[in-house]
Symmetry: C2
Subunit: 300 residues, 2 copies
């Protein structure tokens, strides 16, 4: 079960009734968080989570509403007793940003490992997750993230027998290890069927529509996109390099995810749901996000 | 009328029900704010204020809970259309802190003027306010602030007549100008009685008790002090270089302010009012602050 929580849904500035956009994903006791604006540490608490399982922060870009909550977030992690390293990944330059912001957070009781990603994207593995960053189209370098949880093939008894795999190696092979017995090396492929459909969550905010987003989102279980304005503010969205809800819905209509959550609403939009119908005409499953919205995604 | 609002009362980290410690003072359409931790921009909104009148930020020290809200605060000021310069004053090093934090707030549409104060204090005038910084006793250099609103003497008709001040100069002299008529220079002192009692608010958090605080607080209209713990955590307060509510009350008992508000409560103290009786045994007027608490101070 992959738990997903949209902890905040605001853009530009936090509001008393809306935290800044941030997404948490949790799988088997390990959590990652995308973006960390002012107040994200409070959004996390209000959504009922703790800091301890959070091992990875993914930052989309360096506008304050996506990153200025970092020092407080890290200090609160430290106050909660963290000693395990934390990884922070973001566009090239993230080291400088973290170092600058953390001038007010010296002496953290844990290490911070920083991964600088190319402005055009990149991939890495963290715990069970395969993370792919892709290029967005904003006023500054900005990344979207595809977070994929792969699923191994089913154990295939007939295959294991046919390949002469000794019984005592079955469990370890099923768990993904290679096993050598009497000079013969067996691999998980000797006992497993073909990989099964995993789970994919795709996240992009602060961007104009772009084919990299559509590609990353293709067939995702959950697509989280900014829908900063209604279509009555189409021109403003273009100027500010943001998307309307209708533009987000068009991406979804092409990429065909199983679900679409809209987020990163302008402070000038007090109730985003008033625009949801125009998005649903294009992608019927579109949902206007609200702070703390959750989903539990299961493998097929 | 001097409006004072304790916008937040928390120490260390913001909590869902408690913003970080911050004080706003407003007089004749000009406001100043002391400290700006994560979420202070929201605390200001929740207390019913706007950014526009705020022209001065006073920073006590550089721990994140007192300063990490700066980039968001400044950006929101800009989003509200500010073009007038903003002044930020704090301990020596404040320029570096502001510059580092504002790496995520480039291109502000207004100038930021920074005043670096000595670690042992300093004085300056801003609008109608006389600001005096004084040394606190924390784990890092930390300042308290005395904010004084002076009050001119009463207009004295007999004195004006006795000194032969022409009638046409009376109004300008009363307003504080010097006036020259036929080669004779008149000063406000020619028409005003002795200065009257003004209004004074004194603020100190993140400190052990220290005589500089007592001196600054002497006879203040309002003294705002940290009372981070109850006396059951006296040792912890000492170690962390903070004050208990009883220690704050002892300062008040000596300095004799007209009112004492306690603030900067530890996250480990969910309801500070449970400790207020032990503080009131020492200073009967002690009040456990709550977010948004206000007072309107009037000249005698």
């Amino acid at each position: 079960m992959l738990d997903v929580c949209l902890m905040g849904t605001g853009g530009s500035m936090p509001k008393p009734d809306r935290w800044l956009s941030s997404l948490l994903m949790r799988y088997e006791g390990k959590s990652l968080v995308i973006d960390c604006g002012e107040g994200t540490q409070l959004a996390l608490k209000e959504s009922g989570f703790n800091f301890k399982p959070v091992g990875l922060l993914l930052i989309t870009h360096f506008h304050a509403d996506h990153v200025s909550g970092l020092p407080g977030f890290l200090l609160s992690m430290g106050n909660e007793g963290r000693t395990e390293p934390l990884m922070i990944a973001g566009p090239r330059g993230i080291s400088h940003i973290v170092r600058s912001l953390c001038v007010v957070a010296p002496g953290l009781p844990f290490e911070v490992h920083i991964a600088e990603l190319s402005h055009t994207g990149g991939s890495f593995v963290w715990e069970d997750f395969e993370i792919t960053a892709f290029e967005a189209d904003h006023r500054c370098p900005c990344l979207g993230y595809k977070v994929h949880l792969p699923r191994k093939g089913k154990f295939d008894v007939e295959k294991a027998k046919a390949r002469g795999v000794p019984l005592k190696a079955w469990k370890r092979l099923q768990d993904g290890e290679e096993v050598e017995i009497d000079g013969v090396t067996f691999t998980p492929g000797d006992v497993l069927g073909p990989p099964r459909r995993g789970l994919t969550v795709c996240y992009a905010t602060d961007t104009r529509p772009k084919d990299t987003i559509t590609e990353a989102a293709r067939g995702a279980d959950l697509l989280v996109l900014e829908g900063m304005f209604g279509s009555d503010k189409q021109e403003r969205a273009k100027e500010a390099m943001h998307m309307t809800m209708v533009e987000a819905a068009k991406i979804a209509a092409e990429a065909e995810p199983r679900a679409l959550w809209l987020t990163h609403f302008s402070p000038s939009v007090p109730d985003p749901s008033v625009y949801i119908d125009e998005a649903r005409e294009i992608f019927p499953g579109a949902v206007a996000g609200v702070d703390g919205m959750r989903a539990a995604l299961s493998f097929d």
